[in-house]
Amino acid sequence: MRFALRRAGQAAIVIVAVATLAFVLIHLAPGDPFPTALDDPSLTDAVRARLRAQFGFDRPLFEQYLRFLWNYLRGDFGWSVARNMPVATAIADALPRTVLLMATGLVAGTAGGVALGTWQAARRGSGAERLVGLGAVVVYAVPEFLLAMGMIALFALRLRWFPMSGIVDARSHDALGAAGRAADVLRHLALPAATLALVVAASVSRYHRAAMLAVLPEDYIRTARAKGLSERDVVLRHALPNAMGAVLALGGLLIPALFGGAAVIEKFFDWPGMGRLMFNAALGRDYHLVVAGVVLSGALVAAGTAIADVVAAAFDPAQELDA
């Protein structure tokens, strides 16, 4: 318990540090939300000055920082200039979509990776195992955008099984019933989630294979075999649960990693989630939205690593003593 509380405290410090860094860096970057436009200078300097004043961007940086901290304490995350809506609304719109995508990709990818890693460990050294291992490395090595392009080319353009982008079919979605709408979202989810799941599965399978190979020579596994259990029971009932600690810890670390990885997937599949939101916010110097996104991402990283540490400690109390 004390360990968990200590990790929560560390996580809070990390979040404040990340928020401060994000605030300073985005304000130091050249340009602002109302720049002198290169190709359309019709927005006059007076109008830009007025807009800057309206959002408080004309105030000294330290004053803006103090206001930012005060607003966050009050639960006010500011205004998204590019979206023309409260930051909280923009994130509330996008976050559930990213969570849906990430959760689907993470669960499917982890399940697939565990199954693959278990199978590989059970058949270590066989030709099929080597081939699957090579395939996992290839998938892991291929950049996500290439994987996304391949999925679109094959399943959306050639086979026409799934829509290539978006989250719903704008033409028909509103006319569908509740079940039809859910099915519509699921059809649109299929390709981006499958792409994410592939990436996760490739990574998890390698970790899990190694964990399984570490567990399989243990005495209790030998004992289980000596008791006459089938190899299937030995692997699934005795080795697998004991090898899962590494995967669970990895899962905690994958959450923030997916947050970043999903940005590429979201961009290619035009999935209107946090990744696309943040990418456009950074390009548009949408100060409040960028900082809120970074704080959220920082919170996920901190929470993810804290969960990973706590889970690892639960499986191996020696780690808690070391921490």
């Binding site: 970057a29 050249p30 340009g31 602002d32 720049p35 002198t36 436009a37 290169l38 190709d39 359309d40 200078p41 019709s42 927005l43 006059t44 300097d45 007076a46 109008v47 000055a49 007025r50 807009l51 309206q54 205004w79 200039v81 590019a82 979206r83 023309n84 809506m85 609304t89 719109d93 996008a94 392009m149 679109i152 959306a156 353009l157 086979l159 026409r160 099984w161 799934f162 829509p163 290539m164 982008s165 978006g166 719903v168 079919d169 704008a170 033409r171 509103d174 006319a175 019933g177 059809r187 290619f268 599949f269 035009d270 209107p272 696309r276 939101l277 456009n280 390009l283 548009g284 110097r285």
Partner: protein, 551 residues
Amino acid sequence: MRRTILHRLSIALVFAVAACRGEGTGAGGTLVVGIPAEPEKILPPLYNETMARAISEVVYDKLADIGPELNTVGDVGYAPRLAQRWEWSRDSLQIVFHLDPRARWHDGVPVRAEDVRFAWQVTVDTAVASPKASTLGDELDSVTVRDSLTAVAWYKRRTAEQFHQVVNNLIPLPAHLLAQVPRDSLATSAAARALVGSGPFRVVKWATGQSVELAADTAHYRGRPKLDRVIFLIVGETSTLLAKFYGGELDVVDNFPAGDVPELRKHADLRLTTLGSFSYNYIVFNLFDGASDRPHPVFGDRGVRRALTMALDRDAMVRNVFGDVVATGIGPLTHAQWSYDPSLTPIPFDTAAARKTLDSLGWRAGADGVRAKNGHKLAFSMIVPASSKARLQLAPLIQAQWKQVGAQLDVVSQEPRAIGPLMSKHAFDAIFGGLTASPSPSGVHDAWAVAPAPGSAYNVGRYVNAAFAAQVDSGIGATTVPAAKTHFRDAMRLIIGDAPAVWMYEPPNLLATGTRVQTPPLRRDAWWANLEQWSFAPGATPARAPAAKAP
């Protein structure tokens, strides 16, 4: 269970019948337009981007709309919209607009003269920070209400384009809905997204990050639009946008990339329309040394600028990058504007003449092939926006051709947001910029004829020529098109000769549509201008629904 299946089948049948009725007979149907980014603000006083303007102009009617000739002088060719008719005072300092009594806001409330006055008050209010404020404020003194259907615009001055400037920037707003909204928070208010207009289409859904959906105003005073719905679908990734278009998921792609025209031409069921280009991309030279008043060591000399212009085979470069759909730039006015004069000739491409000119100006080639004069090399940098694929493609070609005459170019790719501060501070040698104009040639005044205001992106190279400015002013003040054209032609001759920039190309305004989409003649500055007359061809195959084939 059986009832459920029957129920679902009946729904499917209803949809199938509706689809056939909608897109197969030329009436109804849903048009899907692919757009690259979400519009920020659609409310008329606030928008500042092309797609926001497109949506705004089909949701909000103007008092009158420019005709197909795009004449901006006087009111010739203007079609009545909310104003059924208008009258000029004898001294041309008043225009009386008589509103169409049938016009209604989308909530059913009649459009009244008070809405015109309210729009004027909102647009020029500095608290609103409208991009239209300065133009409208320069023209109009006030707007008064004579009666519920008669609004009077009182002008500060007489100009040839006074009618154009007002009807283009003074777009009536629903006072009954917006009057209570504080002006300084209008842009951030809920009303700025819950749009109630007077145009042929009304906004029914604005799904953040996904789409803006419009539905036909079936009781519109100008008649019911032929289409039922128009969906502006946001597809941020260009490759996905094009794949969706080729796959039949989109009916229209605005600003179609010129580089993809050869691919589009392979599709018999797709059509490309070249509209007028009202923007030009150019290499602007900083005529001064940074922000100082000292002449720039290279570009301060008119002869050097002319020689560098001569050294570029712009026609070949533009063809190389864009194919046959793009026009080489002529000057700070485009071929599509009425002020264009075909007798204008650019500085010709002539490498030998460029070398000779540089020799005569004392720029001698060194051992490294780069010319120098008084210890200063003919070397400079050019900032190119990293977001412009075309400009990035052209930059190395320009670099190679300038190298041929002994000039060394350093290409610096910069993120667009980072270029603004450099422009404002004049901290650059040259920028491969672009400028969006309109059918009116009067924009050339701010862009080239006057010294830049602090922080302005106009005339960042600080070009000054009193004769040019005088011709531009005379062109703007002329009350007939022929007289104005003469002045603009003479102005163009002066600025082309001074070469404060190399006018590279006029970015094409390409509209790609499926052949199943039937359109009236498209207006060259705004394809959406008559969207209410668009329809689907009788018997046309409906646009393919995404994932039409089951796995």
